[in-house]
Point group: C2
Chain length 419, copies 2
């Protein structure tokens, strides 16, 4: 194993051991100090970011990527505020649950404890460095971060500020450690460092997730990719359906919980689909239509025939695939076949159909009569999130502080032995 | 991918989809039918088992292995009874939790759902075939099983009985599928069949677990291995300590929650260690002692100096490593260094020491004043267990029905859109 990685791993294990019994007050003091340090070091951080931006422009990074990479005074202030709001969240560690007394008098319960060392592999946005670091700190975990090459200087400056804040509050600066080497082979080694890392969160595109699944010996949380469906049922409220579809598609099209596929019942497609298309036209949403849908929308300037992949594509842009179906059953079959198990909705006034959809659709979040855009830690009232999981073990959907914990069984006795 | 495995995988996915919405009554009817079928087919099952035993004896299987492999009338009746007791357990599927109404009126909750398809790789004991099959069925999962070569005929006969029972109750027989091929390469393929299998449970020795971790692209539940510690503190009740240590070591030495290492505080070692050793001598427990312990036990006929690996060995037999330490801190350090994160106990009358031990020891189960032998689904009141997890994600400690489930978020609205 690479020497840097082993050193980081050993140090992370030591720190994680220390953090297991760290009190809430200490962690919150560290968070407040980090918030302050981010502002105090604004000059250094923005200088480092300017170097990354300059290098990025030379390397031909497109405008969208530069925008993601860019920090400024107001973004830094936002980051500092977000750190304070994590300090204000309840501490998940130490919470007891499923407590009971057994017939033999043993008092057993589960107690929430930190996972240990969290490894995160992410791409260009430097604010992820701070987001992850503070959520790991609050949940009592040590973090080993591997950021994108484009943000090298920004990430180092931010990580330094976080470590300095920790140390001001008497918390080890190595609570968060950034891998300095940009050697790509290191990612693979990191994924196999199961002696030092307990969970891997990849934050990036499908390629990164697939690479992590293929190579990791450490449990991986996959997610962040969603082909989201809305099924407009025969009984959908014709007034509410267009704004919900509009919101799910348009409010922020570049994120994983944005709508990708609209399914509409044939009994209402003639009347309702043109209305929905009209609403979407205000945001110039392109419609990729199945044969029956294009027949209804043939006069619509932004409608065209769907290609072979359009019902299996996460568009991340103002494009929507549209298909007419003949029944709830057909809609369920389509979703089951094309699902990424992220977020899917039914719009209906029919109680039985709502229940059947909720029962049958096997996604992280299943909606009745609401926009898919709510699948988010903040929106669900969980506080900040580290990722949205679309895998099935440990956690599904938004992963916030509680999802960065595990539990141990605590068994209190007074001499019990097993018969 | 191997053709048999792909066929099994595709069928398991279909069955799992069907099982997602299967009612509790249907599942319980199937369990009752399975219990009956096991008894009805007793002749076939015992004949198949006799063939395995004969082949095993020819192949030189030792007495212990033959004993594990052997079925008889009374064992089959026990299995049939166990299936009925699974029918009597509450169904974990459909339970709602963490329900709340958000300020915007959205009603959100988590709902327990099956994981999907569970893959299990196990060794010689044929009863595992039935145990796993019925727990998967009750929790709404399909199962793909790969049993040991020694039990081929027994496993096939048992799997047939389970499938026949399912079909009697109108549940697809492929709820449980046994891989017929004994090609070892298939295990590796199974570990990478992430399109078809959602979770892998290896049940076997450390080698199997390591192989699964190294090769799986599917999440693996590791466990079943425990180097368990008891620390006898200075203030331990001198009357209760010997029976607890005796129980933890002797009651069933071949299992993972049996005691392996005794740590004892130096202030009471002179008085208490000989008493404990005397108790253990009744079961002829061999003591592998550190230098200070051997000094105290030099007259004890079964005490000898510990070798270099004795504090890192799961003995699974009547052997115990013994070490004298000078403080709770030293005990915690020893446990942290040698832990397999299974089950560890402190015997103490000191409240502060008990709390400190519970806080600091990072194991699946942490005990005060009780035997480590209680780490068990049945003992914890969870019903039958599929495994004991010593990894950190998804589930820790005994894994029963609830640990074979995941959840989805259900979000009920009346037109909400995100601002």
């Amino acid at each position: 194993m690479d020497t840097e990685l082993r050193k980081l791993g050993q140090r992370a294990r030591q720190v994680a051991r220390h953090m297991r019994t760290m009190g809430t007050n200490t962690k919150n003091e560290a968070l407040k100090a980090i918030s302050g340090t981010l502002l105090d070091r604004q000059g250094d951080i923005l200088d480092a970011n300017a170097r990354d931006l300059e290098a990025g422009q030379k390397a031909g990074l497109d405008g969208h990527m530069c925008e993601r990479l860019m920090l400024n005074e107001s973004r830094l202030q936002g980051m500092a505020r977000d750190v304070l709001s994590v300090a204000a969240l309840p501490d998940p560690i130490g919470v007891s649950f499923d407590a009971r007394t057994l017939p033999n008098g043993l008092r057993i319960s589960k107690r929430r404890v930190p996972i240990g060392v969290i490894g995160v592999i992410y791409e260009s946005r430097p604010n992820v460095t701070v987001d992850i670091a503070v959520l790991c700190l609050k949940s009592g975990n040590a973090a080993i971060l591997r950021g994108g090459k484009e943000a090298t200087h920004s990430n180092r400056a931010l990580a330094k500020a976080v470590s300095a804040g920790c140390e001001k509050a008497g918390v080890p600066g190595e609570t968060i450690q950034l891998i300095r080497s940009q050697d790509r082979a290191l990612v693979k080694e990191m994924l196999r460092a199961n002696h030092y890392i307990d969970m891997i969160i990849p934050r990036g595109g499908a390629g990164l997730h697939q690479f992590a699944i293929e190579n990791a010996t450490i449990p991986v949380i996959t997610g962040g990719i969603g082909i989201c469906h809305i099924f407009v049922d025969q009984s959908a409220d014709p007034e509410k359906a267009p704004p919900i579809v509009y919101n799910a598609k348009v409010q922020r099209p570049t994120v994983c919980n944005a709508l990708d596929v609209l399914l509409i019942h044939s009994a209402v497609a003639d009347s309702l689909l043109p209305k929905i298309a009209h609403a979407l036209a205000q945001a110039e949403v392109e419609l990729r239509c199945g044969p029956r849908a294009i027949n209804i929308l043939k006069a619509h300037p932004l409608a065209k025939a769907a290609g072979p992949d359009d019902f299996d594509t996460e568009f991340l842009s103002l494009v929507l695939a549209v298909k007419v179906v003949d029944s709830l059953g057909d809609a369920l079959e389509h979703i089951d076949e094309h699902s990424t198990q992220h977020s899917d909705a039914i719009l209906t006034q029919d109680y039985g159909h709502a229940m059947r959809f909720v029962d049958a659709v096997d996604s992280a979040a299943v909606y009745v009569n609401a926009s898919t855009r709510f699948t988010d830690g903040g929106q669900f009232g969980l506080g900040a999130e580290v990722a949205i999981s679309t895998q099935r073990l440990h956690a599904r959907g938004p992963m916030a502080l509680q999802e960065l914990t595990t539990y141990k069984w605590v068994v209190l006795g007074d001499g019990q032995i097993r018969a």
